[in-house]
Symmetry: C2
Subunit: 187 residues, 2 copies
């Protein structure tokens, strides 16, 4: 299939709640020691407008946990329903053994303030630096500051994916299941 690539323009970091407060599943990209990785992540929240603070849980079982903890940086990319299969696939394999960018045909672009890449396949991307490590060891909870943001001008309200567990996403008012694409232990 031919996949849409989104051209993005600068977006005010103080307004990222516009995209993240609704609670979409996101694709978290990271770069460390010359390697890039991407993971699917659904446990995040907005914590402050200015400075633009986010919080997210990145379980230490994920290859990205160490890469982000060591590099101190990551990019939060916002996927839409058109790439739900890629979102599920990315969440069901590990960057420790797979080049997910190649496997899922993702298009990377250099970020402006961090080393981790932006994804053209997503409607918005938020460049982040770790702002507070206080709860990383106890809860795998990362506090991030958004230092640069990029968003496509259209669609105004992208059809984002909201994960309920059990392989089921809510999207644009409809429910679509990709349960059969999940490994049993991931459900």
């Amino acid at each position: 299939m031919s996949r849409r690539r989104y051209e993005k323009v600068p977006f005010p970091v103080a307004n990222v709640r516009r995209y993240l407060e609704p609670g979409p599943i996101v694709l978290l990209t990271s770069r460390h020691a010359g390697q890039d990785n991407v993971m699917t992540m659904g446990w995040h929240l907005v914590m402050e407008f200015s400075p633009s603070l986010l919080g997210c849980v990145i379980a230490r079982g994920n290859h990205s946990h160490e890469m982000i903890a060591r590099s101190g940086q990551c990019v939060i990319n916002l996927p839409t329903r058109d790439i739900v299969d890629e979102v599920v696939g990315i969440g069901n394999c590990s960057g420790a053994s797979v080049d997910k960018f190649e496997r899922f045909g993702l298009t990377r672009r250099a970020a402006s303030k961090v080393a981790a890449p932006l994804l053209d396949d997503c409607v918005a991307s938020f460049e982040c630096r770790i702002a507070d490590r206080a709860l990383i060891d106890r809860y795998d909870f990362f506090m991030l500051e958004v230092v640069a943001a990029h968003a496509a001008v259209s669609p105004a309200h992208p059809a984002t994916l909201h994960y309920t567990g059990d392989g089921v996403f809510m999207v644009a008012g409809k429910v679509i299941s990709r349960r059969s694409h999940f490994r049993p232990e991931m459900l």
Copy 2:
């Protein structure tokens, strides 16, 4: 209008991500010193399955902040699109000066493990106790443990409200605006 009241049954606390990971706006109820309060809250995340941990930001400007910090308890209630006007109204006045339960015709029910009330007007309710106060002072960030959960058997996928700021909610794939119901300074 006659409003639906939802009869709920016990729900496994380890599965609350089913309702909260999608990132809906919620109604947070609290009780302290003989007074009940309710606020609209959108900044929350799931942090762990078992124990069932959530995190949320309750800005100290909210009357609920002190009530929850002092009582150590609250209930997270999940509203649906049918009460979007009540959700907006609750978010645009303060329990310091208004009995929101009376003003918005909310129906309270006793919780099982905390003093704060459940709301029959919502499809699910999660009884919480403060699990960790480490980031309350610095970030107004409360870590909560869900100690009891209640959910309506139907609908299987309630049409929840996902707030984008600027008076606009995403719901069931459609965007509905209540911008005209907001006070300018709340936008």
